[in-house]
Each structure stands twice: as C-alpha cells, then as structure tokens.
Symmetry: C3
Subunit: 136 residues, 3 copies
Amino acid sequence: MKAHTEYLTFKTEEKVEFVRITEKVAGVVAKSGVKEGFALVNPMHITAAVIVNDNEGGLIQDYIRTLQKLVPYDAKYAHNVGEDNAAAHIWRQLMAHQVVLPITDGKLDFGTWEQVFYCEFDGQRTKRVLVKVIGE
Amino acid sequence: MKAHTEYLTFKTEEKVEFVRITEKVAGVVAKSGVKEGFALVNPMHITAAVIVNDNEGGLIQDYIRTLQKLVPYDAKYAHNVGEDNAAAHIWRQLMAHQVVLPITDGKLDFGTWEQVFYCEFDGQRTKRVLVKVIGE
Amino acid sequence: MKAHTEYLTFKTEEKVEFVRITEKVAGVVAKSGVKEGFALVNPMHITAAVIVNDNEGGLIQDYIRTLQKLVPYDAKYAHNVGEDNAAAHIWRQLMAHQVVLPITDGKLDFGTWEQVFYCEFDGQRTKRVLVKVIGE
C-alpha cells in the first residue's frame, strides 16, 4: 500500500468564500502514484468545509444565502464571547465538512459535474487542508 | 491491497425519491473479495446523496418535509436560470452526500438498523452511483 | 495492509449529549500499529453522529439550539408513531454522521483545534460506535 500526504494552504480575501480546488487535489493524486484507492480531503480548521458540488456561481450564492438564513452569522451564540465565528463552526457541519474521493486508473473517478471546493467560513487568515491518498 | 469498483444506475419515477440499496452495496462488497476494508458509496451526480439511516417510510417523509421546510424547492435561487434544481444541490449537502462503510469478515459491519439509501433529489433521469471497495 | 476494528460503547446520562472521544480514537489508532492510513469512526446507531469540531462548551450549546430551532424535537413527525426520535434521525444527517480521520506517522493528523465528538441525540441507553483503522 502507498500513502502520500500534502497540506494545501489558503488565505481567502473574503470572510466567506468558495475556492475550487479540483486540479490541486488531482495534482496530489497524480504525485502519489496511486492507481486504485481513496483521497481524503479534510480541512484542518473547524470553521471550513470541503465539498463536492457544481462549479456555478449562482449556486454558490444560493449556498451562502441558505446558510445565512438558517444560521445567521450575526445572531447571538454562546460561543461568541471573544469570538464571532460560531455560525462558521455550524455551517461547516451543515455542509458536511470533508470528502473521500475515489481514485480509479490513477485519476479522480468523477461524474461530469463533480468539482471539489474549499468552503471558507471564517477566512482572511491562513488555513490548511490535508489531502491524504492511500491505495496502490 | 485489493480494489473493486462498480457503478450502480438509477432512474427514479419521482423527482424526489429514496431507494434502499443495502443489498446492492453488499453484493459489490461480496464480489470484491475484500475481507477487511472500506466501501465508498458516492453519487456521481451532485443533486443526489447516499446516506445510512432507518428503513421506515414515515421517517423518509419526515426527511423530505424537513428539507422542503428549510430549503423550499420552488423558492427563488440564483442557480435557477434555465435550471430548477438549486434546492436539490443544497439538500444533498444538508443530508451529507456520501458514506464510507466498514467491511469486517467480508461483510458490511453494520448495527441492527443501519440501511443504505440512495436519495434522489432531481430524478426521472439516469444517474450513477460509484461503489468502490479497497482492502484485503 | 493492516486492519484493526474496535467498538466503543456509550450510555449517556442525557437524551442529547456531546462526548469528546479524541483520546479513545487515538488509543485505537495506537493499538492498530498503522503508521499511514485512515480511521473510520461511525456510529452503529442511526440517531447519533460522530463529528470533528471545537472543544468549547458554548459551541456545543449553539449546535443543540440550532438543531432544535431548525428541526424541533417535539414537533409532529410521521415517524413518531410509537417512537419519539424522528428529530434525532434528522439531526444526525444535518451534522454529517461519520468521519474519516487521517493517520500520519502513527498519529491522528489533526490541526490544533480538531477534536472528535460522539453526538448522542437519543441517549440514556447503550449504543456502539465502530472505529476501523486501515493502512500500513
């Protein structure tokens, strides 16, 4: 079994921002030399998520508006004593925070519209995402 | 390490429909010959989810009603320009879109009530779900 | 490839309770002898979740209040005929029910604030969580 681990770094301009990272993840998979296996893409910070969804700007607005409607960023939260990011912690759970991606024949085994996104919910500072590939 | 990949195909009668697929997934696990490992079950379309939950018709209604209450299918969405499925993209995230299943002694290592479901949120057309097993 | 499986048991005092289990999971990883791989942490009951988030009491209150606001425990549900736990089934999906954890150099490869929690949504009875480690 092979294993290969890389850490991607992000510092978004906005507090809330979606960054498409499909090619970055595919690059790690290529470097790993794994032909059959899984790639785990996991934010190492607990106010961010990694998802697979559609690369369409309107939809990204819809995600953010929905999260803001369900769990308003500026509402009162017990966590927000000296913090202001309780909603970011909750948003990442609602979006399902991590993904495991299939690798077949050395490539991400994706449908036509599957794209990987890093979803930053408390940005403007440096954050890391782990990409770990295992397989053969 | 062994790896085995299959693609399940679904075309639901309803736009929104839950299909129980535990035996289909168990069949792929059996064919793989893997005794100890993981099975990833991942929709290849981004308006569907795969979940593990209870095989109870009332609960499935409750899921759909809850999603409809939180993120109404027919509300206004930026994505819905020539599309009508923004809510389906969002629902799949709220439901957590994929599962990784444990395989022990050649079988899905499940509790009494765990069942795998394909959750279609924009159906009536052909869609694929990847089942990938790795292990030994 | 190595594989190692353990079953953790919980019986919470409260119906809804978050239990930090990072050290328990790390102990299973240590026993597995796996240096590079993945650990799947999966509740075997469908009214509970395992998540990675912040060990901060205020935030745990915020999660529970948010879930209660979005999907009230005591509302009417089709599932609640002889049952009272429909909301618990739904909460576990909204929180994303399972996690896959990276193992690097024999340890959980975590950021500073990542902590593993067992989230019980229908407690006061004995329940199991599977921890399965694969790798080398």
